[in-house]
Symmetry: C2
Subunit: 196 residues, 2 copies
């Protein structure tokens, strides 16, 4: 059940059976159907979720009422509104399932406990946040420097798997484009390849 989770955590090192057991006791499984929310605007985010199966998206709703996608999270990824999780105030993000999904939830208490009880977990989180920070910074820079076309092709090359599973209009939303514009960019690209 928790195998994917353990593999992810112990990348490189291995967890002892005792440590695995500790996780087993502090973690809960939750299944979401497609479209179901993990977190809704206004709620306090009570846990960090490891995606064991399926896929989620994290988005916010802007003034004009369109959904702006911040992040996708397929199997093997963690997702949460860390800000809300840590400071325990109301989230302005929404996180919902793009497919039927299975999550492994780590509550705040569990999180705190596990970080001390399993040093490996602490280190893991450290690496995780640092990595996430770096990735986000890159994304920000790309947003400033790349052309729309480049943003899209780069995205494709980094997450080809995700891009296949997600409807185009969500990719557009992730890139900050309208679906129409993305459709046209794709057409242009395919012409490039096909033609001379």
């Amino acid at each position: 059940m928790l195998d994917n989770f353990f593999n992810k955590l112990s990348k490189g090192k291995t967890l002892t059976e005792a440590e695995k057991a500790v996780f087993g006791q502090h973690v809960t499984i939750k299944k979401l159907r497609k479209h179901q929310y993990f977190l809704q605007e206004g709620e306090i985010c009570k846990s960090v979720a490891f995606v064991n199966k399926g896929m989620l998206r994290c988005y916010l709703v802007d003034e004009k009422n369109n959904e702006r996608i911040i992040q996708f999270a397929p199997e093997g990824w963690f997702i949460s509104d860390i800000s809300s999780f840590i400071s325990e105030d109301r989230s302005n993000l929404n996180i919902d399932a793009l497919e039927d999904t299975e999550l492994i939830l780590i509550s705040k208490a569990a999180h705190v406990y596990l970080e001390t009880a399993v040093p490996e977990f602490f280190k893991f989180n450290y690496t995780q946040y640092r990595g996430a920070y770096i990735a986000l910074q890159k994304r920000l820079i790309d947003m400033f420097t790349l052309s729309t076309e480049e943003k899209y092709t780069k995205l494709l090359s980094i997450y080809p798997d995700i891009m296949q599973r997600v409807p185009q209009h969500m990719i557009a939303s992730y890139l900050g484009l309208t679906p129409e514009t993305l459709s046209r960019v794709r057409k242009k690209l395919s012409v490039k390849k096909t033609g001379a």
Copy 2:
């Protein structure tokens, strides 16, 4: 905003403006998208919902993993797992939205308060439960005594509106039939009408 709600409550009598204001303070609005849960198995039901717009269904999942629909709730109806609401233990029912829906939620504290503060509300609930009890008893009797065909036609005649808005396989589930069987019953009926 709360007009439908007040109309329903004050059927016959009229609420004073003061009373309406009291309601306004103790009640919250919640919007659900199609498919979204109001209550999920395992949770404690924290409020009674008045359906202001849209429609919900209440169902349980049986041993064989099929959904058995207990109740539909279109606009103007109340829905909740009263058992869980009153005794505050985990529900084994699921309630979700069949359409985009707007609910008016009455928390337990609000419910208790309002019943004393607004005698009209107390009486209303009294009538409501009594009526619900009677209706349920009738349904039970019908389940025992009517043929499948009769159950279906009776359902149609009592809730023609609901039957139109709900997919057939859910009606089948409500009647305890497979979708195939219901489809055949309907065919037989239409032949009856059309033919000689």
